[in-house]
Amino acid sequence: MAEDLLTRDKPQPIQPEEHGPVVTFKDVSIAFDLKPVLEHLSFSVAYGETRIILGPAGGGKSVLMKLTDGLLRPDSGTITVFGNDITAMSEDELFKLRRRIGMVFQESALFDSLSVEDNVAYRLHEEAVPEKETHERVFEALKFVGLEQAIAKFPSELSGGMRRRVSIARAIVSEPDLILYDSPTGGLDPITSTTIIELVMKQRDVSHTTSLLITHRLQDAFTMAMNRFNPETEKMEPLPGGGVDESTKFLVLNEGKVVFDGDTHELVSSTDPWLRQYLS
């Protein structure tokens, strides 16, 4: 069962009460070629929270995601992930930390010379997980995203939506404590986008994994906030009484600065003129 993947005992379980924020940005700034991309960014993501990052294109959202994973280093400020100051960590230490983080890239970033199975199994192979267990876990992860039939295919044989789903399977196969989704619905048609959002929601509601999600589509963001995944029907459904998911919060960036940081209610009731225009 796909749910087995989500409920499996983890080698180093993280208890919510043990943890403060999973991700914290404190006064983080970064510039490329002297052009500031993020300026004095501060926010935190609590354990089990899904933080949706919104904002116009070129606002530094993907850079923020790469900073969270330690793929880029800020010019100033500190970033803590699982309580570790990643700005002070060596690349070797970051490799170990990243094993607890799953990342879904904007363009999937699948290894094109490896099959779907080998792509999803990549981290398990690195951790020298026995072949039989690897195959089972890969199959479960692919079943979770509804692509178990594509296990032997190569990325070039898949559609854009299927690649994103394989990318999600690759991110969740090692049961990470934090998942970073960098525009998983970018460039996809509405139906496929909904399928991807449903998978992200499934991961949120069944495993309660802390996650950061970048999206350009406001409807995806509000779908995440106002729906839940029903494991019995295997479909998403609106929250009862028109409620909103309390674990889903928003961060809105514009020109490298935080414009909004809060929950769904605060977002929709914001009086900030720019934000109201952006949301309308």
């Binding site: 790469k66 994973d69 793929l71 690349e91 070797d92 490799f95 170990k96 990243r98 094993r99 983080i101 990342m103 890239f105 904007q106 363009e107 970033a109 699948l110 290894f111 094109d112 990549y122 981290r123 690195e126 690759r170």
Partner: protein, 259 residues
């Protein structure tokens, strides 16, 4: 093309040398710590070594052949046509074998490394690798470096042997020399210092091919056009470096061994 101030240009070049040096050092040092990607090393040995066999064999054979053909004409003028074997053997072992094998491998493999790694770079596969907890230098560069160093050494020996054989074929069939005399002279002309010199050069060439190819791949920017640019630069820079380093090593060896 935007104008770059001399200061910025100098900074860019110094940064590039620094990045290249760090990459090369990491690629070497990674073999002495875990994890080691032995399967990748063997795969690269197959691609680089076995895959280059026909090219290197043909290059070596025809280089030896043409060397015999050209030198015999000049040597005959001095009544020293029997020395053709000496000339072919010395030239092949000390100079042409290592340098031409290095250049052929630079054309075939430095370009391959730059384009493969460059494509991975522009499609975020390198970032994905890092995000999955794998050091791309350890996984991609170190296997290519050690595989190239190991295989180029033996490819050079093969090129030398095939070159001398090519020279023999021409000397015997076209120039009417005695097979035994040719090989006897070839063998007698070679000394320990010549062999050491001929087998030291491929180690340097291999280092240049792998590190330059991987460096340009890892620093690729600008999509498919950038991949093409990196590939061209990798071949040009590695070929020029091979020839420069060949001169330096030759001079050093002459200084050490006196020939």
């Amino acid at each position: 093309m935007p104008f770059v101030s001399p200061e910025d240009f100098a900074k860019q070049k110094v940064t590039a040398i620094q990045d290249y040096s760090i990459l090369s050092w990491q690629a070497i040092a990674n073999l002495f710590s875990r994890p080691r990607y032995w399967s990748d090393i063997f795969t690269q040995m197959d691609l680089i070594g076995v895959g280059s066999l026909p090219t290197i064999a043909l290059t070596g054979f025809f280089t030896g052949s043409v060397l015999a053909l050209q030198s015999a004409t000049s040597l005959k003028a001095f009544g020293a046509a029997s020395m053709t074997g000496n000339l072919v053997a010395l030239s092949m072992v000390k100079e042409l074998g290592p340098v031409l094998t290095g250049l052929m491998l630079a054309g075939r493999n430095a370009s391959g490394m730059a384009s493969e790694i460059g494509s991975m770079r522009v499609t975020e596969q390198i970032d994905a690798m890092r995000a999955l907890g794998t050091d791309p230098v350890r996984k991609l560069v170190t296997p290519r470096l050690y595989a190239t160093m190991f295989m180029l050494f033996f490819l050079t020996i093969m090129a030398d042997a095939v070159g001398i054989a090519g020279g023999a074929l021409i000397s015997v069939t076209m120039l009417g020399m005695n097979t035994s005399t040719y090989f006897h002279n070839s063998y007698r002309s070679l000394e320990y210092a010549d062999i050491v010199q001929g087998l030291t050069k491929p180690l340097f060439s291999a280092f240049i091919i792998a590190t330059v190819g991987c460096y340009f791949g890892m620093t690729t920017k600008g999509g498919t056009q950038g991949v093409g640019r990196s590939t061209t630069q990798a071949v040009v820079v590695s070929s020029v470096f091979i020839i420069i380093v060949d001169f330096i090593v030759s001079r050093a060896m002459i200084g050490i061994f006196g020939r």
